[in-house]
C-alpha cells in the first residue's frame, strides 16, 4: 500500500530488516519508566500509542490551521478543509475503496456499526428477518443488532466457534437463509486474536442475498485491507487503534448502499437546504457527517495512515507474526498457563488464564513490573462465557513491541506465580 499522492520509499521493496528500535524512537510515550521499570506496553488491542508525526500533525493543525471546514471563505478554512479532505483520500487509499465519497468519518467502530444498524438496518430489516453475527464479537458488534432486532421483531442468530476460537464455517453457512438481511463479523477478534476468513464469509452471505459489515477495528493496525477485493458492503475501523487519535473512525460503505440509506444524525453540513417546510440532504459522504467533525482527529488519522503506510502493512504483519510465534511459544512453556484463542490464523493477541490466579491479580502484579496488559472480559462477555471463564489476561502486540518485552512479560508472570506461591 503506497500513500496516496506520493511514492514514498517503502520498505516493502527492500530486504532491510525491520528496525524496531528506530520505530520505538518515533513513539514518545514508550520512553518512560513505570514504578522505576521501563514501560512494557502490551495493551495495543485496547488502544495504540501514537508516533510523534501524529502528535505533531494535530498540534500543528491547532497551532496554524485550525478553522471550521467546508463553508469558510478565508484562508485558514481553506487549509483546514484541504487537510480534512486529504485525510479522507488517505483513508480511501488505505482500504482501497473505489470512491472517496464511500468514506464516512465517524467517532469510531462503535459509531460506525450503530450508524449502519440505525439507517440501513432500520430501512431493510423487518419482522421475521434475521441478522447473523458470531460468538466471538465485541459488544459493539452485538448490541446495536440486538437493539435493531428487538425494535423490528427480527431474529439475531449467532455463528458458533470451536475450542480454538475459530469460526465453524459450516455452521455459519447453515445459519444463512433467505431471511438473513445482514451478516456482521469481526475481521480479527480482539479477545482471541482469530483472523476470520472474511472473504469467504462475504461470498457465502452474498450468495444468500445478505449484506455484510466487517468490524475491522483490530485488523486496520495489523493487516492490509482491500474492501474492493473483499467485496464487503460495509467496513468499519477506529483511528485510535491504528496509531491515530481517539474520537475518529471510518465507516466504508458501497456508494449504491449509502445513497439509498436515510441519514443518521441531522444537523448542519448533512443538508443541501433547510426550510421549515422541507429539508433536502447533502450528497455523499456529507449526508452522514452532521455537525463540526473531529477535524484535528481526522488529520491525525491521516498522519497515522501515512506513518504505517510508509513502513508497509505487509512488513508490520510479518514482524508481528514472528513476535506472536515467539510469545506463544514462551507463554506455552509456563506451567499452569492456558492460552485462550489458539486459531491457526491469528493476529498478535495473547489471551491467557493462569490456574488458580484471577486475571485481575495478574494484571496488578504485572503493572508493578511496568507491564501494561488488559484483564477482564474485553467487551466480549459471550466469549468468556463460551470458554467458561470469568475473564482473561490479555497481552496484545503492535509493531513497536520487542522480544525483550515478551521476555519481560514471561518473567512478570513467573513473579505473579511466586506471589501466589504456585
Amino acid at each position: 500500500m503506497k500513500a496516496i499522492g506520493k511514492v514514498l520509499a517503502s520498505r516493502e521493496d527492500t530486504n532491510s530488516p525491520f528496525d524496531v528500535q528506530k520505530i520505538r524512537a518515533d513513539f514518545p510515550i514508550l520512553q518512560q519508566t513505570v514504578y522505576g521499570k521501563p514501560l512494557v506496553y502490551l495493551d495495543n488491542a485496547a488502544t495504540s500509542q501514537k508516533p510523534a508525526a501524529v502528535i505533531e500533525a494535530t498540534t500543528r493543525y491547532y497551532s496554524t490551521d485550525n478553522s471550521n471546514i467546508h463553508r469558510g471563505v478565508h484562508l485558514l478554512s481553506e487549509r483546514a478543509t484541504r487537510e480534512y479532505e486529504e485525510a479522507r483520500a488517505k483513508a480511501q487509499n488505505f482500504i482501497n475503496a473505489a470512491h472517496s465519497k464511500e468514506i464516512i468519518f465517524v467517532r469510531g467502530t462503535t459509531e460506525a456499526i450503530n450508524l449502519v444498524a440505525n439507517t440501513y438496518g432500520r430501512a431493510n430489516v423487518g419482522a421475521g428477518d434475521e441478522v447473523l453475527i458470531t460468538a466471538m464479537e465485541h459488544h459493539s458488534n452485538i448490541v446495536p443488532w440486538q437493539m435493531l432486532c428487538e425494535e423490528k421483531g427480527a431474529r439475531l442468530r449467532v455463528a458458533p466457534i470451536n475450542d480454538d476460537g475459530e469460526l465453524i464455517l459450516d455452521e455459519l453457512e447453515k445459519l444463512l437463509n433467505e431471511r438473513t438481511k445482514i451478516v456482521s463479523v469481526a475481521h480479527i477478534s480482539n479477545a482471541l486474536g482469530t483472523i476470520n476468513p472474511v472473504h469467504r464469509i462475504v461470498e457465502m452471505a452474498h450468495h444468500r442475498g445478505a449484506r455484510v459489515l466487517i468490524d475491522g477495528a483490530q485488523a486496520a493496525p495489523h493487516a492490509t485491507i482491500d474492501v474492493q477485493a473483499l467485496d464487503c458492503d460495509f467496513y468499519a475501523f477506529s483511528g485510535h487503534k491504528v496509531f491515530g487519535p481517539t474520537g475518529i473512525g471510518v465507516l466504508y460503505g458501497k456508494a449504491s448502499l449509502l445513497e439509498a440509506m436515510p441519514p443518521y444524525q441531522g444537523g448542519g453540513d448533512m443538508i443541501a437546504s433547510v426550510t421549515f417546510e422541507k429539508t433536502s440532504y447533502n450528497v455523499l459522504p456529507y449526508k452522514f457527517e452532521a455537525g463540526t467533525p473531529n477535524i484535528a482527529g481526522t488529520i491525525g488519522l491521516g498522519a497515522a495512515i501515512d506513518y504505517v503506510s510508509e513502513i508497509g502493512l505487509e512488513n508490520i504483519a510479518r514482524y508481528e507474526q514472528g513476535l506472536l510465534e515467539y510469545g506463544t511459544a514462551e507463554l506455552s512453556k509456563i506451567p499452569g498457563l492456558r492460552l485462550i484463542g489458539t486459531a491457526r490464523e491469528k493476529a498478535g493477541v495473547l489471551s491467557f488464564v493462569l490456574e488458580g490466579i484471577h486475571p485481575h491479580d495478574v494484571g496488578t502484579i504485572l503493572d508493578r513490573e511496568g507491564i501494561a496488559i488488559r484483564t477482564g472480559h474485553h467487551c466480549a462477555m459471550p466469549v468468556m462465557e463460551r470458554f467458561k471463564i470469568p475473564a482473561t489476561s490479555r497481552a496484545s502486540l503492535a509493531f513497536y513491541n520487542t522480544r525483550e518485552e515478551i521476555d519481560a512479560l514471561v518473567t512478570g508472570i513467573y513473579k505473579v506465580k511466586e506471589v501466589f506461591g504456585s
Binding site: 514504578y35 484471577h358 486475571p359 485481575h360 491479580d361 496488578t364 484483564t375 501466589f420
Partner: protein, 149 residues
C-alpha cells in the same frame, strides 16, 4: 516489591485461596448478589439475621484474590455482630481502603486492617468493597443486584 507485598499479604493470599464461610446458607433469611462488570467478580452473600444480630453469614461466588479474601474476612468478622456494628464496620472499612485517615488501631477492625494496602491500588478498591456493598444490600433487603458501576 514492598508495595505489592502490602496488597498481597499472606493473610489475603490465604483467604483468597482458602476462603472461610465459603458455602451457601440454608437458614439464610437475607441474601443479595453483587457484581463487578469490569472484571467479572461475582459474589452472593447469605445472612441469617436474628433480631438485631447477624447469627450466621456466608458467601459464594468467584473473583480475584482481593474480592474473595475481603468476603472471607468480612464473614469471619461479622459473625455475632449487630446490624449497627456491621454498618459501622462498613464505614470504617471503606475509609481504610480509600485511604481516608481510618481508625487503623480500632480494635473492631481486627483482621480487616490487612486491607490497608488497597488504598495504594485505587483500581482494586471496588474488589475489596464489593462484598461489603452486597452485604449492606442483603441487610436492607431490597432485592437489587449490587453493581460496582
Amino acid at each position: 516489591m514492598t508495595d505489592l507485598r502490602e496488597l498481597y499479604q499472606e493473610l489475603i493470599l490465604d483467604h483468597g485461596r482458602r476462603p472461610r464461610n465459603f458455602k451457601p446458607l440454608d437458614e439464610a433469611n437475607r441474601t443479595a448478589e453483587g457484581f463487578n462488570p469490569l472484571c467479572g467478580d461475582k459474589v452472593k452473600i447469605y445472612v441469617n439475621v436474628d433480631g438485631d444480630e447477624i447469627k450466621d453469614i456466608s458467601f459464594q461466588g468467584s473473583g480475584c484474590a482481593i474480592s474473595t479474601a475481603s468476603a472471607s474476612i468480612m464473614t469471619e468478622t461479622l459473625k455475632g455482630k449487630t446490624r449497627d456494628e456491621a454498618e459501622e464496620l462498613f464505614e470504617t472499612f471503606h475509609d481504610l481502603v480509600t485511604g481516608e485517615p481510618a481508625k487503623l488501631d480500632s480494635p473492631e477492625l481486627g483482621k480487616l486492617a490487612v486491607f490497608s494496602g488497597v488504598s495504594e491500588f485505587p483500581i482494586r478498591v471496588k474488589c475489596a468493597t464489593l462484598s461489603w456493598h452486597t452485604l449492606r444490600a442483603a441487610l436492607k433487603g431490597n432485592g437489587e443486584v449490587v453493581s460496582t458501576e
